[in-house]
């Protein structure tokens, strides 16, 4: 852009979906009445001590392996000390110099071009609570305290908002496919900090960078990157200098603002956490974790094309979201024809599940329901058009598709004798249109189908109507 080159590195925080919190047995669940999912340990009462949740370590290693990271045989915990009311111990237990995962690499695709981002490290830490500002008062909710949080740090290998989004999309898919996180953006389970600098292209030198913190949606990441890139270029163009600083993003105003300069940077006074033993992971343990990694996206695409003979396009669309791919797999397992299931998912399920502006696909149907719909359409019980009404009816519920068809009266008429007599009547009453047809205007078949549908309130099987039409007009 304008002869400038943008360089971006990310720090991504991702909540792990372990059953319990990282250092205590409290449930790791989103939301709930304030301060109902906490105990003396996660609310930091005097005298409490942490006990590491081994699952959280396992999940982090799993994610690391899926990102081709080196796994540390020996890693340890450190205290990151700072005061804030949402941090009840006044330190965050984190990993400073010996993280669980070291260097790695993630490959992603942008507009058909293969690209990659080097991973610098992945470490495990605890999430903090939440402040609730209301009517001039601030309250604190510790429910989120101690939720295991994985921090992924990339090298500065990204150069545009498009690259960042394509990479984040790939990352999201890795996290979901490995099963370590649900990555629910609206619940804040993935948040990222963007380190960005610009410099004259080809100068061989990086510019001064700024860090924009805590972006909790892909769209705010995109907008803030574009904003910050333009801002830095403007500053440089007008002869100014970029100040190394930490910034925040105001999504409502669509602008970033400075939070603190380098000179006000926190001194976190890191030191080893004496209350936790170091994590020792022998190679055999790491291999066990590696073996437990489920089928990832690439492997699934290969299986869909090779074993299920789906076109590559289908395989790619279906695997974009793990929930969709899982739905597809289970529906096929339930007996559905793969291509038919794929078609229906791509046209109907994704249409319904993807709402404008939302970043997560909603999958409001289970495999049994979908398989039932497919067989109802397949055996002609309902029309494809009617199936959309069934879908609307059972979406986000556990209602049965068959019962829905009954209830809504959507069964179509397959009785060719009845349809034939109706059709004959219509043919007799419309000699002009029949003549048009015979003159070669096949488009008029739509007229006859429409008339039959009108007469039968849309319940006649169009396939049967068409067949009869051809026969009768021959």
């Amino acid at each position: 852009m304008n002869g400038y080159e943008t360089t971006i590195g990310l720090e991504i925080h991702c909540e792990l979906k372990t059953e319990s919190k990282i250092f205590c047995s409290c449930a790791n669940v989103f939301g709930g009445e304030p301060n109902t999912h906490c105990c003396p340990v996660c609310s930091g009462l005097p005298g409490v001590m942490p006990v590491i949740n081994k699952k959280a370590v396992e999940y982090t290693v799993k994610a690391g392996l899926a990102m081709n990271c080196e796994i540390s045989e020996y890693s340890k915990w450190d205290r990151k000390n700072y005061f804030y009311p949402d941090l009840p111990k006044a330190w965050q237990t984190s990993q400073y110099d010996l993280p669980l995962c070291g260097k790695g690499l993630v490959e992603y695709e942008l507009n058909g071009e293969k690209k990659s981002v080097r991973i610098n490290r992945i470490h495990l830490e605890e999430d903090a609570g939440k402040l609730i500002h209301e009517g001039g008062i601030t309250r604190v909710d510790y429910n989120r305290c101690g939720v295991p949080l994985m921090e992924i740090v990339t090298e500065p290998d990204l150069h545009s908002a498009d690259e960042v989004l394509a990479f984040l999309d790939e990352l999201k898919s890795i996290l979901k496919y490995t099963g370590v996180s649900d990555v629910k953006m609206q619940e804040g389970s993935l948040r990222c900090d963007v380190n960005l600098s610009v410099a004259k292209a080809g100068g061989g030198k990086l510019g001064t960078r700024t860090e924009t913190k805590n972006l909790n949606s892909f769209s705010s990441a995109r907008r803030s990157i574009i904003f910050e890139t333009n801002r830095q270029i403007e500053v440089l163009e007008s002869g100014g200098e970029i100040r190394q600083e930490t910034r925040r993003w105001d999504d409502n105003k669509g602008e970033g603002y400075s939070m603190r300069g380098k000179e006000d940077a926190h001194d976190y006074r890191y030191f080893p956490e004496p209350d936790l033993m170091p994590v020792v992971l022998p190679k055999s343990e790491v291999e066990k974790i590696r073996a437990s990694i489920p089928e990832l996206k690439g492997e699934r695409i290969a299986r869909y094309t090779d074993e299920l003979s789906l076109p590559p396009y289908d395989a790619k669309i279906l695997t974009q979201d793990k929930e969709i791919a899982d739905l597809f797999d289970e529906t096929v397992k339930a007996g559905a024809n793969p291509k038919k299931a794929s078609n229906y998912i791509m046209s109907e399920i994704l249409r319904k599940g993807k709402t404008e502006g939302a970043e997560d696909v909603v999958v409001g149907i289970n495999a049994k329901q979908l398989n039932d719909i497919l067989s109802l359409v397949g055996d002609g019980t309902i029309s494809l058009v009617a199936s959309k009404q069934v879908l609307d009816d059972i979406w986000l519920s556990d209602k049965s598709a068959k019962e829905s068809v009954e209830k809504l009266g959507l069964k179509q008429n397959n009785d060719s004798g009845e349809i034939e007599s109706i059709l004959r009547g219509i043919i007799d009453a419309n000699p002009k249109v029949v003549a048009d047809y015979r003159a070669g205007n096949e488009k008029v078949t739509a007229f006859f189908v429409g008339q039959v549908m009108k007469a039968t309130k849309g319940k006649s099987n169009p396939k049967v109507v068409n067949e009869l039409l051809v026969k009768l007009l021959k």
Partner: protein, 474 residues
């Protein structure tokens, strides 16, 4: 009545089992003694009602021939060890109103074994001090000479056992806080191997150095208490499995035991009267067949500084949670900063503030390497020096403190003089070793002198054997 209170803990357990005395009688006697000795100021909270209720329960169990190892025995607990429903102040104004919702694991163990918790003992604020003069609840006066200090920080615990107000007390020892007051008050004080006794529920001062232990009238009592206190605790990740099945069956014959004497423990700082008593004790053991060998702890002169760097660093972090947000003092404030500032200014005493400032300084960027990191390295050296010394001996003997109990107010003007009180005790905490202080004579007008035995990690039994050799309680 007096005879009752002169019993040792193990005699008391026996008398209760044989129904020669009831728990209610003992509890009442202790409460009466506490009341008579009110001016000593040993207790911050006396649990008269709950103690009597517990005593009645114990008597019921004893009548049925049931009951745990400490059934019905009045025991005092230092006020930095969490007790459910009983306020736990750490002798700090900050926690004047703090009532823990849970028991420390050691308190759970005491209750499980039927102990009657008689009260929470006075101490130096957050266990920082060596004279029990840094308490928000006033200084403790030495039972034997009211013009002198009882030592600290477990001053109330040592004094109450000496004064017959409880049959044993729990203390905590970060740099000598069990052993030094034990020496000053003429009782037995055991600092177990780091990790042998669970720290869960002990309000942390310096987590890598803190250890809970018993203060008792006899060596046999100390071993008996350790049988209750030492267990692998799932709530403390650092808790060890290397517990002995029974500590009480320690051998009583010192014959053939090799006792190391380190020159460093007999330098200029050591009062002559104290030195004479220690040497007498050594001679006594030699006469009983122990072998005396010379050892050296070369890094000894660096230990005190190392201790103050490490312990202050950890304290600064551990005490950061006291911020006025969740519990304890909340001072008048206009904003978040003044909430922190005013609450901490009002809540903490001078010594605590000094340690917090020292601790934050040694951890701050630019100073970390010169202080914290260097101290961590010296810690390794000190450990190695002890390991080397133990190649030649079974235990090391020396004074617990350089003098007998000093006069109240003598050292309050120059706090670094108080720090020197700890020179003989801190190396043990730095190295994580067990040590015991046992009365071995008197000096300076009849004040008790304590001899200290330092053992190999997890070799508490040898310490009991040698200590027994001095005082013959078995």
């Amino acid at each position: 009545m007096n005879d009752l209170l002169n019993m040792s803990l193990t005699e008391c357990v026996k008398a209760l089992k044989e129904k020669k005395v009831s728990s209610v009688e003992l509890t009442k006697a202790c409460l009466k003694r506490i009341e008579e000795n009110k001016k000593l100021n040993d207790f911050i909270t006396v649990c008269a009602d709950s103690a009597l209720a517990a005593a009645k329960e114990s008597d019921r169990r004893l009548a049925d021939g049931r009951g745990g190892m400490l059934e019905g025995v009045p025991i005092a607990v230092k006020d930095n060890i969490s007790t459910e429903g009983i306020r736990t102040t750490c002798a700090s104004k900050f926690l004047d109103n703090y009532i823990p919702p849970f028991d420390a694991s050691v308190v759970e163990a005491l209750r499980r074994e039927g102990a009657v918790i008689i009260g929470k003992t006075n101490m130096d604020e957050f266990a920082m001090g060596s004279g029990n003069e840094n308490s928000a609840y006033g200084a403790v006066k030495n039972f034997r000479d009211n013009s002198r200090v009882p030592g600290g920080s477990s001053g109330g615990s040592a004094n109450c056992v000496a004064a017959g107000e409880a049959f044993a007390a729990l203390g905590s020892d970060t740099g000598g806080s069990i052993r030094q007051p034990a020496a000053y008050c003429g009782v037995v004080g055991l600092k177990p191997t780091y990790s042998l006794v669970s720290r869960y529920g002990l309000v942390a001062f310096a987590s890598s150095l803190d250890q809970i232990g018993p203060l008792t009238r006899t060596v046999k009592d100390a071993a008996y208490m350790l049988d209750v206190l030492a267990f692998k605790d799932g709530k403390d990740s650092t808790s060890s499995e290397r517990t002995e099945k029974c500590y009480s069956d320690y051998p009583t014959d010192v014959k053939g035991k090799k006792i190391g004497i380190a020159r460093e423990y007999f330098g200029d700082a050591l009062d002559k009267g104290v030195k004479d008593e220690i040497m007498k004790a050594v001679k006594l053991l030699e006469s009983k067949g122990a072998e005396i060998v010379d050892v050296e702890i070369k890094s000894f002169p660096a230990a005190l500084a190392t201790y103050y760097v490490l312990s202050s660093a950890e304290a600064a972090s551990n005490l950061a949670r006291f911020d006025g947000v969740k519990y304890g003092i909340r001072a008048e404030n206009d904003d978040l900063y003044s909430l922190y500032y005013n609450s901490r200014t009002q809540g903490f005493g001078a010594e605590v503030k000094r340690r917090i400032m020292t601790g934050n300084y040694v951890l701050s960027s630019g100073y970390y390497d010169a202080y914290y990191l260097k101290a961590s390295k010296i810690r390794t050296l000190i450990k190695k020096d002890f390991e080397k010394a133990f190649e030649k001996c079974d235990a090391i003997v020396g004074p617990t403190a350089p003098t007998v109990a000093f006069k109240a107010g003598d050292k309050t003007k120059d706090y670094t003089k108080v720090y020197l009180e700890d020179i003989y005790t801190v190396p043990v905490n730095i190295a994580g070793l067990p040590a015991i202080s046992v009365p071995c004579g008197v000096a300076d007008g009849g004040m008790p002198v304590g001899v200290q035995f330092i053992g190999k990690a997890f070799d508490e039994k040898t310490l009991f054997t040698l200590a027994e050799g001095i005082c013959n309680s078995k």
